[in-house]
């Protein structure tokens, strides 16, 4: 392995090393603040370590890992999200579980898994990254062991996620059987050379892989675990599942399907389109009259991943005229995910803060938010912003994200999908507005007891600011994405 390659995986090495250091520190001097500080340092250092990497891209490090702009962008997103979750989790667990330190270690491990995922170029690293992420998450979800709901959520996630991993594995095995290769890029050359049976093998394999990925992305009909896990898991962990986990998996699946050329098969595109439509409709319909905010966010994430699939599908379409379909599709999905990341983090940040009062149960029910506008206006405004952003209303980053989805769809003339996006957005508005409306109710409810903690408060405030800033002036992020991806 050359020096350059070592530098290229420096972030991962650094993060692993710091995890080990953290473990040592926990073993010898258990202290929550120290642990959290180490976590933050680890995340920041890892982020900084990408700077030297930037000058080397694209670079292949063993067949397993490839570092390019795409990977760097998603790594950045993941690290940002992990940092925010760390801050929220600090507030959340401060007074809850008797030993909180391991949580932060697991958080770092999960983050490492996600980082590996986004830069993997081989089924081995794909599976390992996926499992590193997953295994850490199982424990994170069930971390407050006293709550039954958390255990149930973790168990459901563990079993179903395990099943979905086997889907991916079996699919990979099929593909390997026909192509003799486990690296993504080689698939592109082999796939076309094979005869009819090979084609079927490839398609069946990718269908299986896609089935597994759809589970992780909670796309219909693989979505059923989502609301239960979202509701059961502690709010910061839900934020992590919703952002890091889904984002990383989306990134790798987009890379897998595009670099292997699988996505350009028309039957696969048809399947993807149907899944996307079903997700948009089912996600929004399920949320329509839901009374639990965490479940609403779960359903809305199903719908959002459906929207994201529009960009995914656009990446497989030829054409696109002026702006080039594939590049735009990548750009669109990246921006949309960026928007989705900060919006979701904001939403769960608020849920976390509201949940701090009650140690038994997270603030799920919509009634927990009534009157928030009048008693904790700042918190309410931040939540309103996130909800509007989820709904894709201007002034927020979610609007630009949806704009990108529309753009990607329009350039590739995916009219049916876009009409579904419109229908879904329409239904979506209903439940987002319901939450906002609940917040504006005039009650002298107990929301006035809510105290805004320093760490989580800062995180949510920063996220809201970013939501507004990049909603109004998205050019910096767009330029960044273009520099890294195009």
């Amino acid at each position: 392995m050359s020096d350059q390659q070592l530098v290229a995986i420096l972030p991962h090495i650094l993060l692993s090393a710091l995890i080990l250091i953290q473990m040592m520190v926990i073993a010898f001097a258990r202290n929550l603040v120290t642990t959290v500080v180490i976590s933050i340092i680890a995340l920041v250092l890892t982020g900084l370590a990408f700077i030297p990497v930037h000058s080397l891209i694209p670079i292949v490090v063993t067949p397993l890992i490839v570092l390019d702009g795409y990977a760097i962008f998603y790594s950045g997103l993941i690290l940002m999200s992990a940092t925010a979750v760390t801050l929220m989790a600090y507030d959340y667990f401060k007074d809850r579980e008797e030993r909180q330190d391991e949580f932060f270690m697991l958080l770092l491990l999960a983050t490492l898994g996600a980082l590996i995922l986004v830069c993997s170029s081989h089924f081995a690293s794909l599976i390992l990254g996926l499992e590193l992420l997953g295994v850490s998450l199982y424990t994170m979800i069930s971390y407050p062991r006293k709550g039954l709901l958390t255990l149930e959520a973790a168990l459901k996630y563990l079993i179903l996620s395990g099943v979905s991993s086997t889907f991916i594995l079996f699919g990979a095995a099929l593909i390997y059987a026909i192509s003799g290769s486990l690296g993504f890029a080689e698939l592109a050359t082999i796939g076309s050379a094979e005869n009819g049976t090979g084609e079927l093998f490839l398609t069946a394999g990718s269908a299986l892989i896609f089935g597994g990925i759809m589970f992780k992305l909670s796309l219909t009909p693989f979505h059923m675990w989502t609301p239960d896990v979202y509701e059961g898991a502690p709010a910061p962990v839900t934020a992590f599942v919703a952002t890091v986990s889904k984002g990383a998996i989306f990134a790798i699946s987009l890379r897998l399907f595009t670099s292997s050329g699988l996505i350009e098969t028309s039957s696969i595109l048809t399947g993807l389109s149907i899944v996307a439509i079903l997700s948009m409709l089912a996600g929004n319909l399920l949320a329509l009259k839901q009374d639990n905010v965490k479940r609403i966010l779960a359903y809305s994430s199903i719908a959002h991943l459906g929207y994201l699939m529009v960009a995914f599908i656009a990446a497989g379409m030829v054409g696109g005229g002026m702006v080039g379909g594939k590049v735009l599709a990548f750009e669109a999905s990246s921006y949309f995910l960026f928007a989705y990341f900060i919006t979701t983090l904001g939403a769960f940040g608020v849920v976390t803060i509201v949940s701090l009062r009650d140690h038994e149960k997270d603030a799920g029910d919509i009634s927990n938010y009534e009157g928030l506008f009048w008693h904790r206006p700042l918190l309410a405004i931040m939540f309103t912003l996130t909800l509007l952003s989820l709904a894709g209303i201007p002034l927020t980053v979610g609007f630009i994200g949806k704009f990108y989805i529309f753009t990607a769809g329009v350039t590739t003339t995916l009219w049916l999908l876009l009409l579904t996006v419109i229908a879904g957005s329409g239904i979506g508005l209903f439940y987002y507005l319901r939450i906002i409306f609940a917040m504006t109710k005039r009650t002298d409810a107990s929301v006035s007891e809510i105290e805004i903690p320093l760490a989580g408060g800062c995180a949510v405030a920063a996220i809201s600011a970013a939501m507004l800033l990049f909603g109004i002036y998205p050019a910096p992020v767009i330029n960044l994405i273009n520099n890294l991806i195009a």
Binding site: G321, F406, T407, A475
Partner: protein, 503 residues
Amino acid sequence: MQLVALISVLFIGGLVAWLAERRNHDWPKWVSLITILLSALLMIPLFSLEPTSVPLGAATSQWLLVYEAPWIPRFGISFLLGMDGLSLLMVALTLFLGLVALASSWNEIDHQPGFFQFNLMWTLAGVTGVFVALDLFLFFFFWEVMLIPMYFLIAIWGHENKAYASMKFFLFTQISGLFMLLSILAFVFAAADLTGNFTFNYFDLVGLNLDPDLAWWLMLGFFVAFVVKLPGFPFHTWLPDAHTQAPTAASVLLAGILLKTGAYGLIRFTVPLFPEAAMEIAQVAMLLGAIGVVYGAIMAFAQDDFKRLVAYSSVSHMGFVLIGIFAWRELTLQGSVMQMVAHGLSTAALFMIAGALQHRLHTRDVSEMGGLWKDMPRMGAIAMFFIIASLGMPGLGNFVGEFMILMGTFQVNVPITVFASLGLIVAAVYSLVAMQRVFQGAPTADRNLQDFDLREVATMVLMMLGLVYLGVHPQPVFDMVEPALTSLYQLTGPMHEWVGAAR
């Protein structure tokens, strides 16, 4: 820069008003007042501007002011504002009605006045933005921005059924808005294929030779969004609910200016961008307008809720605007603009009266009213004036608008004109019935009611003078919008010929 300042003043004023609430419960409304006056002050120099030479297609120039700054260069989106006579008039109306709305809510809002004023100001800012935005993306941006504060105004300070009404309002406008977004994007990409230039700039997009089928669909996206907002039949059903449940100030803004954004959009975008496609749909649009005129009037007649009644009358009146726009003659366009302004004033006043009644009687049900003239002669007389205005009495602004629309449309399509003219009759029916049920008859109970006070009378008189002025001396308004309309009118050459040939 003046335009940027104008919009920013309103945005910032809203924020300040909100913050001011922490100091004193009464400060926000004063902040709002100062904000509106300040922006009005900013507008004064604009009235003396002469059109500059910004090319717009092959047509003559109409623009008084244009401001451009880069925004999202990736897509050729810029922060492009432009003002011509039409925009100027609409912005002036916006500010005036903002003032009226402020006056109508002066003593009405006890709950969270700061946030109320914030929403009021931001609605005004959003609407102002809509009227001056010339980048399609920016236009859509403002189009949506004005919805949220309006949603809050209804959802927080509305009446008993506010959740339903605000939701309906938002859903209708938002979903139709997404269709427009789809159209905008498809249009921009189609245009980029055509010109090789990737841009949302109105000036660059006007006058392109699109594929007719594509243009038709694109036009439809714009059309739906604007007609829902207008609101045209059969997309009008959000309006009665929204108006009924909204607080007075919001009703005033909604009826007075938000509906006008739909008409403005049709004039500014739908027809000039897709003249041939608009030509194809013109007959249908006019028919929808005519149905709206009559249907709205019949519905207004049937209502027991005073605000609902006025809301349906808006449907009826805006139907004329729709007819006028799609008849697309100089006469009808001018008539439509006049109708927009006059309807803004008369309906705003009627909503103020409805609000005042609700404030005093705690009901909007007209069957519980009656004989109120006796109790409140000033209000009765003023209400009579506006009822008369809204049924199209010559000498007042509404008449000028309606008459010119019908007269111009007659040259384009006789049956539709005849049908729409029925609206003149049914308008008289519902207006006078409303007048009778609310104000006439013997007082039903011994109510000790406060007649209009000085503030209310002053606002009303201002609007009355406005309507009379528009009725007897409308020419300044016509002159103001004339360059704008003429150049838009020239842009669409073929449609003009077609309309002329249709007889």
